[in-house]
Amino acid sequence: MYKTIFSKVGEYKKQAVLAPITIVGEVIMEVTIPMVMSKIIDNGIKAGKISYVAGMGLLMVAMSLLSLCFGALSARFSAVAAMGFAKNLRNALFHKVQDFSFSNVDKFSTASLTTRLTTDVTNVQNAFMMFIRTAFRAPIMLISATIMAICIKPKLAVVFLFAIPVLGTALFFIVTNAHPRFEKMLKQYDGMNARVQENLTGIRVVKAFVREEHEKKLFTENTDKVRRAQVFAEKLVILNMPIMQIVVYACIVAILWFGGNMAVDGNLQTGQLSSFIMYVGQILMSLMMLSMLFIMFVISRASMQRIYEVLSEEPSIADPENAEVSAKDGSVSFKNVSFSYFGDMNNLALEKINLDIKSGETIGIIGGTGSSKSSLVQLIPRLYDATEGEVIVGGHNVREYSLETLRDQVAMVLQKNVLFSGTIKENLRWGNENASDEEIVEACRDACAHDFIMNFPNGYDTDLGQGGVNVSGGQKQRLCIARALLKKPKIIILDDSTSAVDTATDSSIRKAFREKLSETTTFIIAQRISSVQDADRIIVMDDGKISGIGTHDELMKTNAIYREVYDSQQKGADE
């Protein structure tokens, strides 16, 4: 996991390496300064040599300035490296998602993918920055300060031999125990936020049923749980500070006692003693930093795991090698096709489907919610792979095409369709980047969208806003149809794409399809019988199987489900 993720540091490797190296420079200066100071006291002040005091003092000034430069450089390097790393990680994730098939996207859900690309990347980025800044700083400081202390007086350094393990163990204990407690807290916290979210979206339900007090009671229970979990988790973490203080203070007292005795006996210089106290601070601070680093790491691990899940996901549909076939026409046939969204033969969405559709035919598909109408057509542009059997488009198995070629030939207007921020024209050009203005207008006329577009003050340059919020449902559907038409495909699939369009417009769209796209194989999934009534053939789907296939008149005679749907919609219309 770490290898995959950290390989994304990429071209910022130089900075990622330089950041700790420069920090080592800073640390070396920092640990040398107390040493120089002890020299000033012992050899300068005590001997009364002002020139020595001034000389060494200036050396210290130079060292601190040098250290400042190192520190600043390292700050810069780590910022460049961490932000660059985040950039690469985001790009990698985004590219990966673009490679995903529909079933990959379904598996993660769009909301969770968004979080992984935003919040999780930020978490990892912050942890990484902290890591390259302190992962070297802390241990090197620890080691070099200890070495310095030993150099000055090995016997006195024995104190650290006790202090470091004690503090280390305590910190380790706290960090490892705190982790599950924090996880628990976050879970409570998520639960609480979910409740708020639900109350926001469902406020009308809450008010309509007069459940304000009920919700308040539930929420109070939630917040109390959060509070308790927080106390439970944080009461461990707040031990850090006092424990650290006790150990540092104990060290200082011990060093002063033993050191004082040595000094009186003439075995230790006063300056050395005071530099020792400086080292106490440095050594124990670096231990503290290590424990913080560990906490950060633990927090970011969940995020890393979630990013890794995306990065390591294999796209379930990939281009075949040397795919050079192209569709010769718009014929489609299903041979014994079964399909499950989960690849589970016991939970089939489609069961043993056999179909032969000639190029240029118009096929209507009808059936209740959950009868797998959409599942059927989604196999044609290979949005999903059939679990069993073969789907043949234009004379070749869909698996033989490169996805790009196949999807260029098969245009699909999805049920849950999306327009993007930008102008109408920009959105339509998704269908064909090089479409001329004339082609765009023509497609819009066919989709009965031209008139309402021209009614906007800015016509085709009208800005749609995020998610196409500035147009009504019916208008959106017609824009989506025009967008698909611009592809000039061999096969076009409308998955319930005119549900919000009135029947008159619906029928003129179909008329345009009949006249202009007679060569194009057309699939129309609809709820309304009137939308499919005049198709060459109508497929009636029921529970993943084809219940009937034929023209309107044939089905009225032979298919009970079809007749039932027809009756439920036509009741009274002929009265």
Binding site: I41, T201, F209, I238, D502
Partner: protein, 629 residues
């Protein structure tokens, strides 16, 4: 889509007032707060006192070297005092942190509860004007910021202030001459921090903007991922993303460089200070200026290190405190909002109705309801049976004062009738139902409910007498059972099953993994839209009210299923006054009266046959000559 960055400004407007208000939430913790402050003082004081005692200790050693005789007892004495002070310091810091944790979590809980409680009482109008993202971030970002402030910053600020003052005092006591250097350093430090923070501040604003752009793009593209694929647009999208991402990287690098640089600069300025002090102190000791001793120098050097730490801490915390205060201000603004107005005094009571029609109030559930109507003038109380008769008299209404949505609507629904509204989006169908349950109040015209002006009826009681099934179904985290029971909290299991059967939801529920005990999460994400609507219908059914409002309640149910539940729906509607809004005209055919709305006016009314015979708008709609958008 709520905006990602729902934070208009990061700066608080009223620092002091807001701070005071946060502290007002700590009621009941006065003694503990005083103890916390004492604890902080002791803990910070211990650090200073310890360094202060270094001087006598070092001087003691130096004296012994010059005099050749060691005052060992004096040495032990000082060291013992030092140890005791240190121990006290560590213990008080343990103590105050523990106490502060209790106070801060409790305070936070109170703020959350207050906020939620206010939110529940706000009028629907408020939710129209504010995005969910905006309100949600009060619970996440803003309370998080307050939490951070309460549990870290407050104590650290006090502790830092005490340390700075204490150390400075000690420094002045030991040598006023060396303190001049301190003042100069302090001046430099403040300058440096100021210039770096303003740069990093600007950088972070730019970064925030870039993050907004990147996140917006991610959200949009991931949401439309399937469309991207269908159009082979992957490469192009990646390219655009890389561009935005590159801009973010640049802005973020700039912002973080400045933020990162602060630490090493502060740290090393402190070493610089240390070095300068060592030179000056050394020279003074050698020359014997100001009675300087080696002990003073050692103590003083420790002080210079101790001095810079709190300054760095405060400068780091300052940003988070400002964020917290700005967040608190936003929270308090919501808490200060006016709650839904309710001057109603007519209440809903259980009633016993005698054969002669006299109504008496009953303490237990009788299955029949009455309006208890006290008359202020003569102090008498009258009872009216709840029947669900609704009358609109020239009702004019607009969501905004200058834009009316309903222009003089008059209608009369007898109890037990089914009334349908038909018309395009924006014609005012949903608005009418929103007025019946007083989601919004009417400025002009009158709405009467069982003959009583609805403004006189207590809102809660009015709503309790009605059930509503909305176009957008909202379910809550909990089991299927809990969700249906939402309509009537004390419904028995049998009542729930019956309601589910009525709504034709029973069959799909029993196919769920755990049947009625299946957990629904994130608004019932594991159910289809149609199934969710069936649950919403069941929820309304279990409430068993005299009035039922169905706002596109069956829009996501296919016609075949709809015809299956038609019987259930019919029995659900039986004996109730029902208002139906439906896109699909087959749903409204059997209504007693159909109102065709256009631009806030009723343009046609009558039953299905009458309207068809009129050959007007309804006829056009019904025969599909017109588009309902």
């Amino acid at each position: 889509m709520p905006p990602r960055n729902a934070h208009p400004g990061a700066k608080p407007e009223q620092t002091f007032g807001t701070l005071k208000r946060i502290f007002s939430y700590m009621y009941g913790f006065k003694v503990q707060l005083i103890l916390v402050v004492i604890g902080i003082v002791l803990s910070a004081g211990a650090g200073i006192a310890g360094n202060y005692l270094l001087k006598p200790l070092i001087d003691n050693i130096e004296e012994s070297l010059t005099l050749g005789k060691w005052d060992k007892n004096g040495f032990i004495g000082i060291l013992t005092v030092m140890g005791a002070i240190y121990l006290l310091g560590a213990l008080s810091s343990l103590f105050y942190q523990r106490m502060m944790l209790k106070i801060s979590t409790e305070t936070l809980m109170r703020i959350r509860n207050d906020l939620f409680s206010k939110m529940e009482s706000l009028p629907i109008r408020y939710f129209d004007k504010h995005t969910h993202g905006e309100l949600m971030s009060l619970y996440t970002n803003d309370t998080d910021a307050i939490r951070e402030m309460l549990s870290n910053s407050v104590a650290q600020f006090i502790s830092s202030a005490i340390t700075i003052v204490g150390v400075f005092t000690a420094m002045v006591i030991y040598s006023w001459q060396l303190t001049i250097i301190v003042v100069v350093m302090l001046f430099i430090i403040v300058k440096v921090i100021g210039s770096i923070s303003s740069r990093s501040g600007k950088g972070f604003i730019a970064q925030q903007k870039a993050i907004g752009a990147v996140n917006g793009y991610i959200e949009e593209m991931i949401d439309g991922q399937k469309v991207v694929k269908v159009f082979n647009h992957e490469a192009k999208t990646c390219e655009e993303f890389a561009k935005l991402n590159g801009e973010l990287c640049e802005a973020a690098t700039r912002a973080n460089t400045f933020a990162n640089i602060l630490m090493p600069i502060m740290n090393n300025l402190s070493y610089l200070h240390y070095a300068v002090t060592a030179i000056a102190g050394g020279i003074m000791t050698v020359k014997g200026i100001g009675g300087m001793t080696i002990g003073t120098v050692v103590s003083y050097l420790q002080f210079t290190r101790q001095f810079s730490q709190p300054i760095t801490q405060v400068s780091q915390q300052l940003n988070s405190v400002l964020t917290a205060l700005a967040g608190a201000e936003r929270i308090f603004k919501v808490i200060d909002e006016e709650p839904e107005e309710d001057n109603g005094y007519v209440t809903l009571v259980n009633a016993k109705i005698a054969p002669d029609g006299t109504i008496t109030e009953s303490a237990e559930r009788t299955g029949r309801w009455a309006w208890r109507h006290p008359h202020k003038a003569d102090g008498t109380v009258t009872y009216t049976e709840v029947k669900g008769k609704v009358e609109f008299d020239e009702v004019v209404f607009g969501y905004e004062p200058d834009k009316t949505v309903l222009n003089g609507i008059s209608l009369y629904a007898k109890s037990g009738q089914k009334i349908a509204f038909v018309g395009s989006t924006g014609a005012g169908k949903t608005t009418i139902t929103n007025l019946i349950n007083r989601f919004y109040d009417v400025p002009d015209g009158k709405i009467r409910y069982d003959g009583i002006n609805i403004n006189k009826i207590k809102k809660d009681d009015l709503r309790r007498s009605q059930s509503i099934v909305l176009q957008d179904t909202h379910l809550f985290t909990g089991t299927v059972m809990d969700n249906i029971r939402y309509g009537k909290l004390d419904a028995t299991d049998e009542e729930v099953y019956a309601a589910a059967k009525l709504a034709n939801a029973d069959s799909f529920i029993s196919h769920l993994e755990n049947g009625y005990d299946t957990m629904l999460t994130s608004d019932g994400a594991n159910l289809s839209q149609g199934q969710r609507q069936l649950l919403a219908i069941a929820r309304a059914a279990v409430a068993d009210p005299p009035v039922l409002i169905l706002d596109e309640a069956t829009s996501s149910i296919d016609t075949r299923t709809e015809s299956l539940i038609e019987k259930g729906m019919d029995s659900l509607m039986e004996g109730r006054t029902v208002f139906v809004i439906a896109h699909r005209l087959s749903t409204v055919r059997n209504s007693h009266a159909i109102m065709v709305l256009e631009q806030g006016k009723i343009i046609e009314r009558g039953n299905h046959d009458e309207l068809i015979a009129q050959h007007g708008k309804y006829y056009q709609l019904y025969t599909g000559m017109f588009e309902l958008s």
